[in-house]
Each structure stands twice: as C-alpha cells, then as structure tokens.
Amino acid sequence: MSTVATDLQKSVQDAAANLYVSALKDIPQDLRDALAAARDRETSTPGKRVLEVIHRNVSIADEQKNLVCQDTGIAVYHCNVGEHFPLHPARIYEALRDGTERATIDHPLRSNAVHTITRENTGANIGYRLPIVHWEFIPDWDGLDVKCVPKGSGSENMSFLKMCIPADGVKGIKQFVLESIVGAGGKPCPPGIVGVGIGGSADYAMHLAKEAIMRPIGTRNGDPLVAQLEDELYGLLNETGIGPMGLGGDVTVLQCHIEHADTHMTLNPVAVNYQCWAARRASAHIGPDGSIDYDREF
C-alpha cells in the first residue's frame, strides 16, 4: 500500500472513532427539536413525566459530556463512496472496524459484541462481520461520506417482517406497521422513528427499513406516493395511544420514514425497523486528501 493510502486509511479510522463517540454523546438538532415538540404536545401524566426526564437526560449528557444512553449499540455505518475516492472499500471497512475498536477501548465504551452461538464477547464492539456497513457508490465523485448510527438492542429487537401478498395492497402494509408498533409497546423506548422498508425482497426490505431510520427526522421520501404514506402512517401511529415508554399518551412516534424499492409482481414485502427516541447519528465527509469535515450531514 502506498503512503498516501495509509494516511487516508488513518483519516477514515479517526473519523469512525470520533463519529462513534460523538453519536453516542451529542444527539442531532432535528432530534432535539422533535423531542421538544413532543414534550409540548403530550397530555398524559406518565407521558409528560417520561418526556421531561428525556429532556433532563439530554441536558445532563451535554453538560457532563456523557453518553445519552448506556447502550452503545451495534456499530452501523452508512458510506457513500465516490468512484474516484483513492481508498478501496476493503480498506475503508478495515478503517471503520479499527476506529470502532479504538473508540471502544480508549473511551472506554461498553462492548456489546458477542458470538451469536456461544454468546462470548468477541472484542471491542467488533467481531465477525461487525461493524455493519451499508454501501453506496457514487459516480463522478472523489469523496467519502460516513454516517455512524449506533443501534441499541431494545429497539433493534423490535424489528418485524411480513411478506404481504399483492392482494393485501397498501392496506396490508399499513395494518402490519400499526400492529407491529402496538405489539412493541414500551419495549423499543418510544417515542422514536419508525423505519419502514417496502418492496424489493425480504432481506432488502429490512435493509431499506434501516436506511429509513438513518434519515434526519421528518425528511420525506422523494416519491410523492411514498411520502403521502409516510404522512398517513405517522398520523395513524400517534392515534394508537401507546405513548412515551408505552405508559399511554399522545406521542407514540416522532416520525415514520419509508424507503422503497420496486419488487416482483407477486411480492409485497414490508419490514419495520424501530429506532428508539435516542436516535443517535453522526456524519463526516472525508476528502481525497484525508481532510475530515464533521459538520456535513448527508
């Protein structure tokens, strides 16, 4: 490997280490705004108590530079890799893995990674196929965007897939999302972001649902039909009365985001991936020269 590539790999590693810790400590402004709006809107006594505690918690995390939530999650990254970015994705992956490990040891952070059969810890939030990286490749570009989304288990455990049939239509999709969120109750730490993936295949629908929770809160799908469904589901979900932490109330979800793909004529898959209220997310842009810009959301 050339010296230039080594330095660049080090930059990506630095970015990953910084993004993992900053995501855990400093929640995005769009989330802060959504939580504040939820606190203003909630009318139930337990619900107001929950949203007030969340507000106090975020302030204390800011003041003390502490983690917002103790669950340091499973490290998930999304990368947009430019066609001309001078580091191969194999090395980008290595850098993300090393950065995750370094942040976990240096801070230190709780390590959650275990072998899926033996349940023995596999290292500093890394392991076989951990961290998890979503890739997109961008033509005619020489940059790299990295987004870190540490995903807590309380909400990840509330993931659901249904292979609806075409005759179930959009109504089937809506019913499945509603029954999933009611069934999840307080377990995924509501109010959060309901990520929905529709179309594609079984595995791809869940991939899309995860992509959906990574978006800034309240952004809308570019397809007006899908955006309309996001609006409708957002309204319906907040009529269920599940409320903050499942204790009953007006605010069950902060948003509903949907990502979609075209699918087979006989398929109608719908996947739900829940993101808890602590919707941690941090992004950086890395230039071909290794410069890192942490303030650039994508």
């Binding site: 006594t45 975020v58 502490n66 669950d71 809506k174 377990k187």
Partner: protein
Amino acid sequence: MASHTVTFPITDPQEILKLRAGDEVTVQGHIIGIRDRTQIRIFDQGVPPPMDLSGAFLLHTAPNVRKLGPGKYEKICIGTTTSARMVRFTEGLGAQYGVRAICGKGGFPDEAIEPMQRLGMVYFAIVGGAAALETTQIEEIEEVLWEELMPECLWKFRVKDFGPLTVGIDAHGNSLYHDVQAAAHEKLKELYARL
C-alpha cells in the same frame, strides 16, 4: 396519582402495598443491578446468588464502567435495559429470594401480574435511554459479584433520589401496560376500519 419516596431494601411489606399503578416513586438506599445472564445462572444453572436479595430492588442493567482494582469499579454510564426478556424469573425472585421490586424499561407482559400480586411485588418503569441522568443518581458502585459475567454481573449500587419512576405494575393486580395494550387493540379495530 400519588408520589412516594421508598428506601430499599424494605422490611415492611406495606411499603410495596401502598403503591398503585401510575404513582410516581423516588428511590433511596441500595439497589441491585442484574441482567439476563445473571438470572440464567441463578435459575437455569441453579447457582444461588452470593448476595442477600430479601426486600431488594432489582434494576435491569449492564453498566459502562472503568475498572479501578480488584472488584472495584467506577461508573461511566449506567442505564436500564428492556425487562420483557426477563419476565420468567419474576416468581422465583419473589418466592425464593424475597425480591420486592423490579425496575426496568418497557414493562412486563401480563404473566407478571399474578405472581406480583401473590408475592407483594411491584414493577417500576424507568425511562429507557435516560442513562446520563440515571448515572448521576447512582452515588457509588459498592460491590460487584460474578465479575466473570461482565457486564452482566450482580451490582450493588448506592443511590440518591433515583427516579422519577412510574409504578407500571402494582401488587394489587393492576398493570398500566395491560391497560394501554387493551385500549390500543380496541383503537386498532377503529383504525383498520378507516384504512
């Protein structure tokens, strides 16, 4: 909905019986951190806990800590995990070991209601994810047993003004979770009819 302060461990069962679902509670004294693997060891592997749990308040947790020396840890970030995974241990904790309160997030399903009523136990709902605040209410990690299960050890914490907690399930057969689910399922029928 009343507000209470309760100091744990308790000796008087009345301290639990006075609590009603929906009440707000602040906790003082000592609480015990416990998690999946800790309870799997106690109940599935039959290893009695090396700590007195009578009258205890258990917290579903696996903290972020820094090791200072043998058996000595400093808190970094301590928060609470989802309780529902651990509901099957409720009866054993109450009947065999005298546990009187279990605190976690997300609630217990209905199968916890009957043993909690029979044994005089209560489930406290904490705000999941609010770990930065929770950490400030834990004054010290006084004891850590079963360190080999790190981070799912038995943790003894001294707390000050721990809360506010909401009584999710009381010792009188009431569960907020049951009530919210029942109402939501009724509501779903109405929502489905509108789709």
